[in-house]
Symmetry: C2
Subunit: 515 residues, 2 copies
């Protein structure tokens, strides 16, 4: 195995992938959302998930099918696809959730995998042990040992073409998550769910979710499809994709609808609080909030579930589009303003910028500076690292001018300085990310990052002398510039009293190479 997942495009640690699943007419394009189908209770019929909502794949609970005499016989007889009425690939869960909830289940990994195979599941799941967040280290290690044994059992089961998932546990112990991922990666299994994150997600601990995902990613090869098990709220999809998740499943669409809760990419609203419907989906353009509230319970639940599905699938399409266009970070910037916890998750992701830098493409369409967080993106780090490799004249030739203003031929070389990147030779002006668009009203974070760039260049070139001409950087930025750099302050270019990321004279200079 190992050739079931093909990477087609990347942005941040997010990627467009193609998952080859036995039953798929075509491959399943990721990032993908798998709606959860409850065999007992179908708020929206599985066939509609496929035809009206564009679900390429769904997930159902193999253990529930196995436990019910009636469903088990029907599934064995007709196959799970016919039973549910879903023609695309179906992933089946194993009962691990029930194990975590109720402490005991009456199946084993070999049993349940064999059952999943017999009913025609496309992706099966062994019985791993979901260790909750904040579990003691001893419990985390012991549970993980059991999960690792279960993966070994799963490898030994004859499951034909069915893919088998290798869940990654370890609670909130990041080293355990990484170790678990390495163990899973060394198996012959196919899909890699990061498990037991639902309690983190339910309590808005998104930063810790990102830490757990990044730890798992450190232990997995690039070409491993990662499933964030139980993550069904669209407000976190973009962030989690940017951290490296490929597959999501949503029971939320139905569970939230049951409580009159209305999903949006900026959080959850309660139907009772809606004065107008803040959405363009087919449900929201044909109803008012009062009309929805007046519906009988079952119809209301169905309409809300439909809305929740539309919002969730639209967000997945938006994410795939963003990866293709190279602006996934920009989408995460917007989503991070949905809730402080998403911002916290984005800031946690940026703590991993050096790791993201490895997968983030070197060239994209445009870099939008959208907040102080933008100054911490991997493109800025990459530019700073590059500054150590660029050559400069030494002090015997004369001083090097780094400037936010125009050229000055009195210097041995004259480089542009653009926040948040810092200095670069003019020949690079038209290359990504130095073509960045930034607001006229800039911020301290952009200046501080530019100052770090200056420092990197100066320290790497001990035999050169430098002058920096800036448009009024704050003290917090100037403090980062090495003392041996002579400073000059340029007049500010615009009436708002702030500097611009693009010097006003830059257009006449593009393409000139001074060094």
């Amino acid at each position: 195995m190992g050739d079931v997942f093909e990477l087609r495009d990347a942005d941040a640690a997010g990627r467009i992938g193609a998952l080859r699943v036995p039953r798929a007419k075509e491959v399943v394009e990721t990032p993908a959302l798998l709606p959860v189908v409850n065999p007992h209770l179908q708020t929206v019929e599985p066939s509609r998930l496929e035809t009206e909502f564009g679900a390429a794949m769904c997930i159902t609970n193999g253990y529930i099918l196995h436990r019910s005499d009636e469903l088990r016989e029907a599934a064995l007889d007709r196959g799970v696809h016919d039973l549910l009425g879903f023609s695309g690939p179906i992933m089946t869960d194993s009962g691990s959730f029930q194990l975590a909830e109720y402490g005991e289940i009456d199946t084993t990994t070999p049993d349940i995998l064999e059952f999943q195979h017999r009913i025609g599941a496309d992706v099966g799941t062994p019985v791993d042990i979901p260790t909750p967040p904040d579990a003691g280290r001893g419990r985390g290690e012991a549970d993980l040992e059991t999960t690792t044994e279960r993966l070994a059992q799963a490898e030994a089961v004859e499951t034909g073409k069915m893919l088998v998932s290798a869940p990654i546990q370890g609670s909130t112990h990041l080293d355990l998550r990484e170790r678990a991922a390495r163990a899973a990666d060394s198996t012959t299994l196919d899909v890699f769910p990061v498990g037991a994150v639902v309690p983190l997600l339910n309590s808005y601990r998104y930063a810790e979710t990102i830490e757990v995902v990044r730890a798992a990613k450190r232990g997995l090869g690039e070409n491993r499809p990662v499933h964030l098990f139980g993550a069904g709220h669209p407000m976190t999809f973009a962030l989690c994709v940017a951290a490296g998740c490929d597959l999501f499943d949503s029971a939320a669409y139905a569970l939230y609808a049951r409580d009159d809760r209305y999903l949006t990419v900026r959080g959850t609203e309660h139907l009772a609080d809606l004065g107008s419907l803040p959405c363009s989906c087919p449900v929201c353009v044909t109803h008012t909030p009062d009309e929805l509230r007046a519906l009988a319970e079952e119809a209301r639940e169905t309409r809300l579930a439909e809305h929740n599905l539309h919002v969730s699938f639209a967000e997945m399409r938006r994410i795939r589009q963003a990866i293709r266009r190279g602006n996934l970070f920009e989408l995460v910037e917007a989503r991070a303003r949905g809730h402080p916890a998403v911002l916290d998750g984005y800031r946690a992701l940026l703590d991993h910028a050096p790791g993201l830098e490895r997968s983030d493409p070197a060239s994209k369409d445009a870099f939008f500076y959208l907040s102080a967080e933008s100054a911490r993106r991997p493109e800025v780090l990459r530019h700073h690292a590059r500054l150590e490799r660029l050559s400069l004249p030494d002090a015997s030739v004369g001083e090097v001018l780094l400037t936010e203003g125009g050229r000055n031929d009195a210097f041995a070389a004259c480089w542009r300085v653009v926040p948040p990147f810092g200095p670069f030779p003019r020949a690079l002006s038209e290359t990504y990310p130095l073509t960045a668009e930034a607001p006229d009203r800039t911020d301290a974070a952009a200046h501080e990052a530019a100052a770090e760039g200056v420092a990197r260049l100066v320290v790497a070139n001990p035999d050169s002398e430098f002058a920096l001409a800036h448009r009024g950087w704050p003290e917090s930025a100037l403090a980062l510039v090495p003392e041996r750099v002579s400073l000059a302050r340029l007049d500010r270019a615009d009436r708002s009293g702030t500097t611009t990321a693009e010097p006003t004279d830059s257009y006449s200079e593009d393409g000139d190479a001074d060094s």
Copy 2:
């Protein structure tokens, strides 16, 4: 007149209003989007705008109707509502745009207003002079004099129950815009369009657009409905509403569709660049990009116009919902991450926080700290101003502790400190905005704003002595704390090495009043 607009709710400088228009069965709820109907070319039939898209009002060009013999007679004969097939209120433009484009038109303010009245328009428009941005001051003043004369002419025309708009010009000269607004406000006219901003919007000069709007608002009474003439891109709606605009019109939905351009709240996409449709509207859930591209030109244009309308109307509903819930700033925070120019506009709006503070409600559901910009919101300013009015023990009683940590009875008083607000007595802990939610990973801007709050309190209480216990504020924040405050650094509370906005012990202390 003057009683045509009733304010029902407010958030930032945005408001829910009710515009009483002669023909409306009910009032028109604002903020509202008026789709532009071109009498010659209807991409989407006006009756569909009403029934399928929820347009409560539309706008058409009275001058185009007047100029065409055929349309003029039909409009006079049947009325503009029957001619267009739109039963709701219709606003009519005067030909000012054509005047600006072609230099001459063959009508006058009395003529065109009389015509608009005779065809049954609900809101008519005089022939003002749209002065473009960056016009010389002399031209701006001369044009404005003419516009002011036209408003006087308009007041004198007998127009029955028809409302009449009083456009506000002045180019990018803010004092002229304010003067123009005062002049318009002193007339008996009803609706107040801010004119000639389209060139600013087309070149992404959103910060200047906001400056122009705020200048106009300074000259207008609170109860004056403000129309941002020609602003039809949904990426700027939330920002412009937060600055105080009530009415928008969109020709963009049709014009963009003609060029295969696809509107989103985060900018414009070209159909050729779409790999998946990033939207949940009825068009986007029933088509793939390839299917749209394969349509014949006219059908493709109609589908794209429908998408553009769905997105635009959904954003208006989202904005009204945000005002009702008191989280319009949070919506603007998200929209500001759509493009650096929107961020620049948001930063320009926050430059006017003292002005916004007057209309922004004192209490809302929740304050979300979502970026460094959140530290500049009017709620923070208001809290800082309040700090000067709170009483404290003087130095003879003992030192006052301001702390991010727990209580300490060794002090004469013990106040909590929460970034970005700063200090407050514990009795206020459960009041807005001090219940703010903030990310665990905080930022320098929040600490600096808290330090400014400390400084306000300390300066206002020269006879008290203060100690500040903080969880590792950066130098840029500590530099703002007056020297006479003794500083102590608390252990950081969480493993991420950052402080939390909510002290870990706060729950046991809520409701205690120490001073």
